[in-house]
Structure formats: structure tokens, C-alpha cells
Symmetry: D2
Subunit: 358 residues, 4 copies
Amino acid sequence: MRKKRVAILGATGTVGQQFIQFLHKHPLFEIACLTASKKSAGKRYSEATKWYPNFLGKGIPEEVGNMTVVDTNLNAIEKANVEIAFSALPADISKETEPEFARAGITIVSKSNVFRLDPHVPLLVPEINPNHLELLKVQKKAKNWRGCIVADPNCTTTGLVLSLKPILDFAGIKRVFVATMQAVSGAGYLGVSPIAINGNVLPYIHGEEEKTQNETLKILGRFEGDKVEPLNIKVSSICNRVNVDYGHIEDVFIETEKPCAPEEVKEVLRKFRGAPQELNLHSAPEHPIVVRDEEDRPQPKLDVNEGKGMSVVVGRVRRDPAFENGVKYTLLVHNTVRGGAGMAVLNAELLARKGLLN
Amino acid sequence: MRKKRVAILGATGTVGQQFIQFLHKHPLFEIACLTASKKSAGKRYSEATKWYPNFLGKGIPEEVGNMTVVDTNLNAIEKANVEIAFSALPADISKETEPEFARAGITIVSKSNVFRLDPHVPLLVPEINPNHLELLKVQKKAKNWRGCIVADPNCTTTGLVLSLKPILDFAGIKRVFVATMQAVSGAGYLGVSPIAINGNVLPYIHGEEEKTQNETLKILGRFEGDKVEPLNIKVSSICNRVNVDYGHIEDVFIETEKPCAPEEVKEVLRKFRGAPQELNLHSAPEHPIVVRDEEDRPQPKLDVNEGKGMSVVVGRVRRDPAFENGVKYTLLVHNTVRGGAGMAVLNAELLARKGLLN
Amino acid sequence: MRKKRVAILGATGTVGQQFIQFLHKHPLFEIACLTASKKSAGKRYSEATKWYPNFLGKGIPEEVGNMTVVDTNLNAIEKANVEIAFSALPADISKETEPEFARAGITIVSKSNVFRLDPHVPLLVPEINPNHLELLKVQKKAKNWRGCIVADPNCTTTGLVLSLKPILDFAGIKRVFVATMQAVSGAGYLGVSPIAINGNVLPYIHGEEEKTQNETLKILGRFEGDKVEPLNIKVSSICNRVNVDYGHIEDVFIETEKPCAPEEVKEVLRKFRGAPQELNLHSAPEHPIVVRDEEDRPQPKLDVNEGKGMSVVVGRVRRDPAFENGVKYTLLVHNTVRGGAGMAVLNAELLARKGLLN
Amino acid sequence: MRKKRVAILGATGTVGQQFIQFLHKHPLFEIACLTASKKSAGKRYSEATKWYPNFLGKGIPEEVGNMTVVDTNLNAIEKANVEIAFSALPADISKETEPEFARAGITIVSKSNVFRLDPHVPLLVPEINPNHLELLKVQKKAKNWRGCIVADPNCTTTGLVLSLKPILDFAGIKRVFVATMQAVSGAGYLGVSPIAINGNVLPYIHGEEEKTQNETLKILGRFEGDKVEPLNIKVSSICNRVNVDYGHIEDVFIETEKPCAPEEVKEVLRKFRGAPQELNLHSAPEHPIVVRDEEDRPQPKLDVNEGKGMSVVVGRVRRDPAFENGVKYTLLVHNTVRGGAGMAVLNAELLARKGLLN
């Protein structure tokens, strides 16, 4: 089968670099276009980017390094004849660019937060709400686009909703409290000063709590023919930054509708599978959720790469003594893989398999 | 006024070292006796202890360094003619020793967790429950002791209850969820390997969650003539270790009985005063609770020494969207000062002022 | 005495912020002008700068926060009627600006590295080479300037030369090898990613080795009427970045000309005094060099603030077994105080005392 | 071929755990006996040890976990019918035990430092001095032992000598200065407090400097029929602890006898091979030394696992300006693999291949 030609928008930043890692030698996709700002356009990719070895482990794949970076504009994209664009653009640019590209027929899978709560844009976690892709028809019609935008959720939200979905189906959920300990990579390579974070906890991440609260309700919401009705539960979160490289820890307290024993919850988490597993998608982990029984896991340093970073690791599942029916646990999500470029690529694989590209 | 002669039980460990810091040149107390295990007995203190400069900033006070360490036994204590003993003994030893000393007439202020939930032992936070000291009469009678035991709470609990008390009085509390990020010093100087904690979060601290849940209810409970009736609310906690030297961060979600605006909560927290402030006790901070308005405070690295480590710092007070009536916030408590030797000394100051020594 | 009016050039960056700390309420100087780039000009200082609490401990002094930032140009400086300008400008700007201001009569004390090796510019460590200030006459004449430029050395160099000077005078020096472990603050607040430095050593700092090698020879060189003849010794350095907030550690191996016992070296280091001590300058530490006898000191975490950050701390002084005559030791210098704004201010105090400010 | 039965002495400590990692499923060796102190004897290994997941990545191999630990004594060893014993015993115990076992016919490969400088004991780095194994005949005869002791060098020394050997052969060496930045794992799992090392450099490691200086001369020395004549050069070292998990960095300044261009040095380092490579031993890395050309490598976080931790990584090779003939560079050695159990196993492989195991 011919590989789909893809563009990476904002390819020289750290998220763009991660897209390259996930898309290089991908069985379905072929990197056909790397875009960046005007000042990088015309340069070889290896000259235009500052490749961060700590982020990625390996150097720039040679053939990617030799590609010429183009300016982020429609001409360039169309000249490269791409079908999909993975967007790692900053919010202010994605706001203008993504709709323009979608109008012109490109399918955008976006890491930007600009359109996540747009009622016409599916906010996709492929194990949870693949049926929200039905929104794309509505979107194309409403916006009069030939292409479309599919949004990827916030990293913290992604870990949370994956753990909530099986519990929601099993016992119903009334209320969720979550306190997070998030890795510095979530802020970008130079987003946090070592002086600020060494031996410290930063008890605030701009916009993060709103994202986790709002996105969760949309992702778990019900598709109702022409829109997604958000889930009607309460979510409250407090988000902190800690000095971990990769992997967000989340402490979750849940009030369920029905009684549920911790062993039952562990079982439904372990058995959870979704469309990526059923369709055997290339980037799908065998177990979307890995449950550990040890009292002191998950730990970012030991568990972040579970399922090549695509599995959420849940531990310490136990009854919550402050709810009549409740459970509490700790989860770990790899913020730049399952919560980042890895899931965007998984989303694109789902689109491809469902025949939603063109 | 003649200073009270005091002993430090378990003086060579890190908590013992902290007692020395707080008791050296104290206006009410005079270090008269340093005890340790048999293997240290007979040595000069400066030879018997491995003084950790990072814990304490300063070296051993010279006159303390020259004192001779004695074995932890009643003879030694009585020979030294002490009235109070600050106990930094490990649990298994304090279990035997503290009652023996109390029987013989010594007042024990104990950092051990052995007797914290004993119905006859007051679990004292001097700003909150000084009236629980009435239990001492009950205790002495029930146990037929001439002295007594006063217990100090767990460090995490101490920070939590100080923040809860003004809210409880103002709006009533139904439910509390707390997720903690605790400093490595809480585990002792060599309690955690740097390899385990560097770039990591350890999502478990043995026994900590039970302590925070149970001790909170007792401290906030009502003294009823001959016993303390625990407060009838629900508390659920999840405790984590992070790579911070000093200062525990706690994320708190509270369901209140009555509506309460964040600004009201901040005001009652700021205005909170207790017996130590009213009595102007030596170690009392002017403000037991310091409220900060910045969106990114408290931070351990910036705020841990507020009020010489005796103030709890609260920030990010806001409505909790998941409760009809609720508030959430982040607090910081210095685990080895307000949550450690500092508060034990403040407790002893209260006992002295109330004439409860002898 | 009327205070001298001073400008801080590049006042919104981290070095500029440090100048504010050292110059606020200074007995000789008065902050009269804060400059920054065009985009900050016209704003109140507190709005124009992102003040980093971790760097500085305290907030912006209120009267400084209320000052209006001006563009870095001669008009603004002249309008403010300043005599001295402390320059925290980036190299490319200082290259143009400092000579222009000097020409117009301003005395520049510069943290920039642009003019450090200019044969007409004194590279000043006030305890070591105050006589190099004689160069200023030569400079003014050669360049036809009414003002002048005095350069501050690189932070690593400053610690090194302070320790070398007494040994040079006592025993002569033939060769120096130095390996450094430098704090992240040396790279600026966001100069190093936490992901890059956590649990790591970065074995390279751009330009640092050349600076330590070349600047050392100039500072220790001899003033010969119209120029400084660099010291004729060999210096070789290897510079590393480690995850320390403040304080550079340097391991130094020295071949001396004459035999010198470690005890003698310690004594000459301890007794070392210079012009700032003799003249009792405001920012002068009592002991430019503090020697510790413990086998495991100096340590950045324990010793960096010795002498309010103005003392170099030397430890582990012992014979070097690989030289016939040699000594080796470890030193610690506070890179943003003695190696930064602190010494620049001390240099200005020396200029003021010597009557060299117009 | 039948596998050789081996014992691990001191198997429950962290070095013992590493031996298990390297010996489990080894093609030549079979773990036949695990010894520990009396208090562990009789327990299943999985109960007797506290297995540190961070050290080793993986859990205890099941069949090893089920083995019964025995007391460290000759009876137990003989009953298990082992030919080789890998010793991870503490110095005071190895001093008594290793000679006793050697007398009884066991070949000891020891990580202890007790016998490293014993003139009859080869201090083996298999790429460098395999001919020192000739000492074993002398040893057996002199001590009247049926077995023998082969010593493994200190971890820091191992990295250093591997880099020195090709330069010694190529250009001769007169003098070496080395400053180290050593990982915390070198002190054992709980050997350093996080409070002591976070944001700090500890400028002292007990005994380390003497080891690097003395062991280097012996390893590079010449075997002369019945003894090893230490190499006649000068070595001076300063050793520091930094907050890195694994991997010691060493800054090396070398005075050579002959001129040598950096490019030549890089070439001889890259081409260096020894007996393990020639004999294609199981644990031998293809390249004992990997040379990197980037200006900012090696870094522990990026390079420590080069050659599965068995390659020394050298970077920043350049002329040393302080010597007439000299070179300087930075090296990285994995302290618990090439500098630990990994090299001990490689040494045993060499013994086996040379027919030196009885």
C-alpha cells in the first residue's frame, strides 16, 4: 500500500521533533513536508532545528535531516501533496493556519489546544471515543471545509480519561478529584528553569486545571447525531510541576454511583481495550492500562516507558474512605508519548483505518 | 525564673539534633540530659552523633557537644533531675520507655507515633486543641502515673489540621481530600536513596495516609470531660515523596457545610490565632497561617522558612467546582519545624505556661 | 556625601536584577537610571522585568519597581545625569554601546566579556590588581574618551585568581590545571534545560576555558607604565556544568617554583588581604579567602554564602604528588556575587574611593 | 560445554545483585551458591535481599529468587561445589574469607579493595594487563594456595587506565592529573543522603584518590617474571561526588613524552583492542573505548550505556596548552558495569578461556 504523505507543522520545536521520531519509518505514513517559521524556511532540517538528544535518545534520522524546511503556508503544503498534517504549531499560529489548511482539504491532527473545545471538533482518545469521529461530517458541512481538524487532548487529561472510562462504564462516576505531579518536559525543553524546579514543587501550571476539567467531560461525552453532549459529572483538579523529566503522576479520588470493590476496578482497568487494540493499529499498546499491585508503583523513573510509553500505569487502587461508594488510585502517563505525539499518530492511524483520510 | 531541666531522648538521631537546635539557649528550658543507645552512652555528644550540617545549618553548640551522653534509662533521667523529656525515640523503644518515665513523674513530649491515638493521650497542636490538655488529669488517674505523655502529631497532619481548623469553625466541614508531596527529610537523613528519588515521585509512604486520616479527626475532636470525641467528618489522603529537602506540599479539596467564598476563607485563615499567640509563647509565629495571593505559591524552596518554619503557608485558595459548597487550596508545612521538633517545643512551652509541669 | 548617580544597563535581565540587589540602599551609589531594550522602554520596571524570586530571595524594592525603564542610549543616560553605568548588556550590544558611553564621559563597569582582553582596559579584581587602574589614563588618552571602561572578569576566573595570587607571591607558580563544576545560574535563568542537567554533567561550557586561561594571565600580570604584561605561566582548564544552583567548584593543581608546605599555603591564603579590606570598602568581605580544614569542604550548598558570597572558600589544601613542588586544592566561588554583580559593585567602590570617578 | 559453578559472596547487597544480573543466563557460568551474613542464611534469596529496581531495571530472576542463601563460609561453598567465587564482601570480611577460600582451591574474583595492592595479586583490566595473570603461579606458590585471588580495580581507576593505555603505548606518559565527578551509586544504594547531594557537589570520597593514584601504576606496570613493576609516572587526582545516578566523569590532563596530535590520540583510542576483543569474550564490548567528536560529550545521561556499559566514552580530546607535549580530554565510565560487576565477569571469562580455572 502506498504510504500517505504527511506534513509536520512546526517541525523544528520539541513536539515537532517527537513527531519525526514517531513518523520516521512508519508503515502508513511518509514524512513529505517539514514546516517552520520564515526564518528556518529554506534551510536543511538538521540546520534549522536544535535537536535535543535528551528528549529523544537518538539523533536526527539522516534522510529527515537532509529535507529542506518550508515556511508554514498553504502553498508549501499543497506543493508537497500531503494528505495529513500533524500540527505542533503554537496556539496563535494554529488558530489561523489550521482552519485554512482544513478548508483546502488537509486533515489536521493537532496538538494545539485552540480547537479542543470547538463543538465541531472531535477531541479524540482512540480507545475511548472513536465514534466522536462522526463529528467530522458535521464539521466539514458546518465550516464548509474539504479537510478537517481532529484535536488531541492535553497530556494530563489523556492519562486521566483513559483510567476513568472503564470505571465509568462499570460503576458510574459522580465526582472526580485529581492532584497532579507533572514532568518538566511538559513545559518544553527550556520551559522551566532548573533553579526554579530543583528541590522544589511549583504548585501551578497555567491553564492546566481548566483543561483537565473541561476536556475530560467532552472526551467522555456522548455523541448525539450532530454534537457531543459533555458527560454530566464533577471534576476538580490541582496541578503541580515536579522535577521529573518525563511522566505525569496523578492522584485520583472518585465517587462512583454504584459500589465497586478495588479488585473489580483493577480487573476492569486491566481488561480495558478499545478500537486501537481491536484494529491492531501500529502504535497501539497491547494494554492501554497496566495495573500494578505493588504498594509503591507507578513511579515515573521505573514505569514511564510501559507499552513504549503508550500504556497508562495505574497503581494503589483502593477504596476511598471519604465516599460511600468510591475508589482512589495513582496513575502515570507518559506526557510526550501517550500524552503527546504518540497519541496523535495513533489517532491518525485510526483515521486512516476508518477511511477518513480523503 | 529558673529554667526547667529537660532531657532529649534519642538525642543522637536527626530529630534529636533538631531538638538541640530548638532548645539550646531557650528561655524556659535547659538541656540537662542527652540520652541514646548503650553504644553511645559515656561518649561526649560530639563524638556520639554524626551531626548533619545540611539538616541544621550550624555546628553543634559547644557546650552541648561537650555533654556526656547517657543510656536511655530511668536512672539516668532521674539523676539528671529533669522535669520534661522530649522524645525522639524509635517506636519500639518509646513504647516501653515513655510509660516508664511518665510513671516516674516525667512529662514526656513525644514525636513518636506510638501513643498518638491512645484515648488518654492528648494529641496536641497548641493553636487548635489546647483544651485537650485536660486529658492529662484523666491520663494520670487512669494510668496511675505521676508524669504524663503529650503526643505530637505527624508532620503532614500538622499542616493539614492547622489549615482546616479556621474553615471548620467558619463553614463546617463534611469531607476532605488531600494529596501530598512530601520532602525527603521526612524519611530521615538516609531514609531515601538519591537513586530512588532523583527525577522521580515515590507514590507511597508507609503508614502516612492512615496517620493523616486518623490523627486529623482526633485533633479536631471535642473534649468531653473525660475523653476526646473525634470529629465526625470524612478524610481521604494520598501521600507521595518528592525530591524536596524540607517542606511538605499538600493539595486540599474540602466540602464545607455552608457556602464560603474564597475571599472569606482567606480572611479566616489569615486572622486565625490560638493560645500560643495569645500567650505570646517563645516559639509561636505571629501568624500560624500565612496566606499568599500569587497564583504560584506556596513553593517549598521560597516559602518553607516562613515564620521561622512555624507558619503554615496557604495559597491558591479558590472555589472547588466539584462540590456544591467547597474550597480547594495548596498548603506548605515545614516538616521538621512546625511538623517536628519546633512544634514539640511549642507544646512544652504551652505546658509550662499553663503550669502543667509538675 | 552626595551619592553617585548610577545607571544599570540591561536592567531587566538576571544580571541586571542582581545589580539592583547590590545597589539598592548602597551607601555610595544611587540607582538613577534603568535601561533595557526598546520594547521595555517606557514601562515601569516592575512591569518590564520578569523578576525571578529564586535568584534573589526577595521581591523588587518598591521604589525601583516604580522607576520607568528607558531605552539603552546615550540621551537617556545623559538625561539621567549618571556618572557610572553598570553594564549587564549582551556582548553584541555592549560592543557598540559601552565605547559610545565612555566617550561621552561615563565610567562603565562591565560584566560583558567584550573588552576584557583589550590592552587598554583594566580587568579588575580589587584585591589583586588595583594598580591596573593606572591603565585608565592610558585608555582615555589612546581612545580619546572622557569616561572609561573597567572590565569585570569571568566568574570562574575570579575564584581562581583570588586563590592563586597569594600562592604566586609566596612560592611562585609555573603551571596550573583546573577542572570546574559550575552552577546552572552561570548560564542564566533559562540557560540550561532541567532535562539536560538533571542527573547529568555537561562537560562543556562555550568559551569558558579560553576565558579562564587568558583572563588569569592578564589579571595576574604586571602593569608596566602603559600596559599590562601578562603573567608568564601556563594555565589549562576543563569546564563542566553540574546541577547546582549557585557556586562554582574548581579543582586546582599547581606547580610552584619553590617548595611550599600545605600548612604554609593555608596560612598565606588565610592572611591574604587587599585594597578592599585596607580601604574598608562597603562590599569587601573581611576575608577574601576562607580556608576550611575539614576533608569534605567547601560544598556549594553549605558554603556558597560565606562572606555574603564575597569570600572564596578553599579546602583540601595538600601536596600535589605529581609535581616536585606542588599543591592542590578545591575552591568555591559564588558565581553571581563574587563572580558577578557583587564584585562589579566592589570594583566601583574602589574607583570611587580612589577618586577615579571624574 | 559444562558451565562452571560459581558462588556470589555477599549476594544480598547491591554489588551482589549486580553480579546476579551479569551471571544469570551466562553462557559459561552457572550461579550455584549465594552467600550472605548469618542473619540471611536459610532464607530464600528473594526474601533475604531488598532488591532495588532502580539499580537494575528488572526484577529478581525467578530461579535465583528461589535459591536458599547460605552463610559465607567454606563449608557452604565446598558443598555447592563451586570453582569460582565472585566476591562482593565488605573489606573486613573479605580480608579473612577470601584467603581462606583461595587456600581451599577456589578462584576468587574480588571487587574488594583489600588485596588490590598485594604484590602477589594481579589487578586485572583484561584489555590492558592479561599477562599479569602470570602472577597467579607466583601467588599460589608463595601463599601455598590451591586456588587464587584476582582483584578488580576501583571503578574510577578502571575508566582512567583504559584511556591511558593506548596513549602510553603511543606517546609515553610522564604525568597525569585527573579530577572526577562520580555518581552516587558508587557509594551504595543508601550511601549518600539526597539532602547532602541535591544541588551540591561533595568534594571528597574517602580513599578514592589514593586508589586511583596507586592502582593506576600497578595496572600499567610491567610483569617481570615474579612481580609487577609499577609504571614510573606521576598521577594526581581529586575526586568529587555529584548527583548523577550512574557513570563517573573524569577530566584528564596528560603530559606525554613525545608530541602527539589530538587526532592521533583519538585514532589510537578508537583502534584500541585487547584480549577480550581478540578472544571474543562474552562480555567484551566491540570497542573498549568509544571516542566522540562533539564538543559536549560524553554525558552520563546520554552515554553511560555505550557498549552495554562496558565501553569507556572519551570526548573533547585536545592539546593541553600547559604542557610542551600534552593532551587533555574527558572520559565517562559506567561505574557499576565496566567499573563493577561487569568487568569482574569479563575477568572471569578471561580466566576461563585461558584455562586458569583449575
